[in-house]
Amino acid sequence: MNDQSNKWIGKRTIRPDGVDKVTGRAAYAADNSMPGMIWAKVLRSPHPHAVIRGIDTSKAEALPGVKAVATAKDFVDFPLDKPVPIGIQDMRWMSRNMLAREKALFHGHPIAAVAATSQDIAAEACKLIEVDYEVLPWAVEIDDALKPDAAKLFDFTEFDGKPSNIAGKLEHKKGDIDAGFAEADVIIERSFTTRPVHQGYIEPHACTVSVGADGSTTIWSSSQGQFMVRAMTSFLTGIPQSSIRAIPAEIGGGFGGKTICYLEPVAAVLSRKSGRPVKMVMSREEVMRATGPTSGSKMTVKIGAKKDGTLVAGQGVFYLQAGAFPGSPIRGAAGCSFTPYTIPNVLSTGYDVVSNRSKVAAYRAPGAPIGAYGVECVLDEVAQAIGMDPLELRLKNIARDGTKAVHGPVFQSIGFAQTIEAAIKSEHYKSKLTGKFQGRGVANGWWFNAGGESSAQVNITEDGNVVVTTGHPDIGGSRASIANITAELLGVDYNRVSVLIGDTATIGYSNLTGGSRVLFASAMVVTESAEKVIEQLKQRAAKLWGIDASAVVWENGEARPSGQHTGNFPTLTLAEIAAKATETGGPIGAGSQQNTTGAEGGFATHICDVEVDVELGTVTVLRYTCIEDVGKAIHPSYVEGQMQGGIAQGIGWALNEEYVFDKQGRVDNPSFLDYRMPVCSDLPMLETIMVEVPNPKHPQGVRGVGEAPLVPGPAAVCNAVSNALGIRFHDLPLSPMRVLAAIDANMKQAAE
């Protein structure tokens, strides 16, 4: 790691893709067009739940300008009872989510798609499609879906031997939960709800797909994984993966919501049928109705503690909305929430609940902010009940190296305690609140982080510069960090390193941009590639000097003879060796493909100060600090950026964002006007403290940093509001209406 002598690692370099992005040149998913291209639109279900008895597309097909119509019939059929898992998705659900097969399962569910010579004609043709629906009773909310007489979405999901909308259960167990609570001096048990929130990426889903007469397929789209796009398109259309070239456009935000396909396989079917390239772009309304969001939830959390603050038992029951198909992030809710603490007795249970709303997609540490919301709010009450500082309570019980986590693994090198200590010592935490309705809240959050498959190629150009290709869409500046690492390892100037994201035909398989894994994994394959390149450079220099390669060292971007040859030859720069590559053995370059392991979890602590306007019910965030164990900050600006982005999303989740449904089971706020994400004037400056405890299992000490900073957010904000008013809140979001109602109820209670 040679920290002291680092020249590029840890530097705030200018990102390789930066100039294109500040000049409007960067090409995102919707910025592409192809010769002969036509446009496709999707017909969506007007009902939240209905059997599709028949679809008549004849009138649409007859409309002049229409080139192709697609329905589920045109997709590969995956029977409902046989799992076909591909990565984090199951093809049974992916297929039916893209175009409904037996039933429409939510309002906005795609039913059919039309490709035509213009967007207007495609939209007009959609209206001509006749669908014979048998409308069914429906349930959107968890409680409605769990009622005994609730309409069941699927025949094959059973719970306790009965048909049920509970599609799955997960349990983590440690110690003896009853014995644990029996030891406790203080037990706090509370129930909470959170609303579904959308990832809120500003770039709607879009793609252009061209299928040739020979089946050769080119996909241009933005996603969190071009290899995921290739695999799903292949599975759903039957086109072999080798015939598909998925090109990753620049991605305009994802946050997990683009680890899934909605359009590409549909466009591929339409292109195959029409013989024309097909472009699809979702409207914001379509994004809000039929993509993402993350789960809404209901949960009960019970924690027992000794008078001295020792936590002795923790129990959580988490119900998460999956939407129309199984697969809510119960692993994140039930698996992450108690993990940062050394609680000897834990029982954490998650239930996956399907209902008639859009299928959830991953959102930044999926499920973890939900579980942390319940646990961290109860911990706040525990601290209050025993009269202990809330951060000191957490520090007293924090997991350390050697602690066995409730979901299994033993922590090896973690900076949880250092992070909380940094929070306690921070100027923010030492500062005093000054106003009447001001409050401070703290919370912790933990996320698994991931390793997995990655590929890289490092090539030396003939003029002695460096081109690095990796296979992960760059969602928040990862190319800058990869350039920093490559420049450091090769000893060359940062500006001589180009970093590109390869398409599926030009770089080896690389798993999703997700799980905070991109820099962790790409740094490993880039490091191995660079080390191989350095070996080649030493061999080439040795050949030019006529000595043994073992007598050559690589230092500061130059080959230098060593041992008995020291000083015998002038050093050779990378450029000098590259210029003579042809005569010394040909092109210089190397690749690496690995299934990376050793990703240590991410941990963050938040401190939030708020002020409540008790007349309006509005909450203003006065000050906010995120403290995170970031492993090693390869590019500090983009690490801070991840922390600040996580804070903002947490504040939105806590205060404003929610899906509102009308009485017909339709999303009632499918726009950025009514789905209220934080805007610039809503927020203060966002403070960050990077705690660097290097990951010993990584060549540069990298630990994923992208997701953990969202996890504590909703709890930290809620604790701050609760402390400002002296009223405990258990239901998000803390919108003005809800805050005012709580204030009124409290005043009424006091008066009685």
Binding site: E250, S283, G641, L673, S681, L683, M685
Partner: protein
């Protein structure tokens, strides 16, 4: 329906194009004019990713009809740098990492430039309220606000 012929100026260049009567300026820019720097994040004027200026006034191009460009001057993100010489805001955004995914960046830059033309010494609050119409989901706005204020300070210094 017959297309409308529009004569206008875009980024200083006299420009002609044809559009449908109902076509938005954003669609004209991104379609026939091939200027895809302005982005469509919502199409309803809520996100600001399509920000341009019309005779120096900041507008959402998704809320403007293409035909309304007739006889007026439009500037877009593509007109912000002069050749390979970046505008100070563009340079500062790069140096201070005031972008992550970059999809909102063209709109934010166009809006920020418009602010500094009106108010060369904005307070933090003024920057925040001016940019309240430009959604960013990645950065939490911190680095954006700092970059705008530092650019303003640099430009004031340079103008002295």
């Amino acid at each position: 329906m017959a297309k409308i012929h529009v004569t206008t100026t875009i980024n200083g260049e006299p420009t002609e194009f044809l559009c449908d009567p109902a076509e938005s300026m954003l669609d004209a820019l991104r379609g026939p004019l091939a200027l895809t720097g302005a982005k469509e994040g919502c199409g309803t004027g809520d996100c600001g990713a399509c920000s341009i200026t019309l005779d120096g006034r900041l507008v959402c191009s998704c809320l403007m009809l293409a035909a309304e460009a007739e006889g007026h001057e439009i500037t877009t993100i593509e007109g912000m740098a002069e050749g390979d010489h970046l505008h100070p805001l563009q340079q500062k955004f790069l140096e201070m990492a005031a972008l992550q995914c970059g999809i909102c960046t063209p709109g934010v830059l166009v809006a920020a430039k418009s602010l500094l033309e009106r108010n060369p010494d904005p307070s933090e609050i003024e920057v925040r309220y001016w940019l309240a119409g430009n959604l960013c989901r990645c950065t939490g706005y911190d680095k954006i606000v700092r970059a705008v204020m530092e650019t303003a300070a640099d430009m004031r210094e340079a103008a002295r």
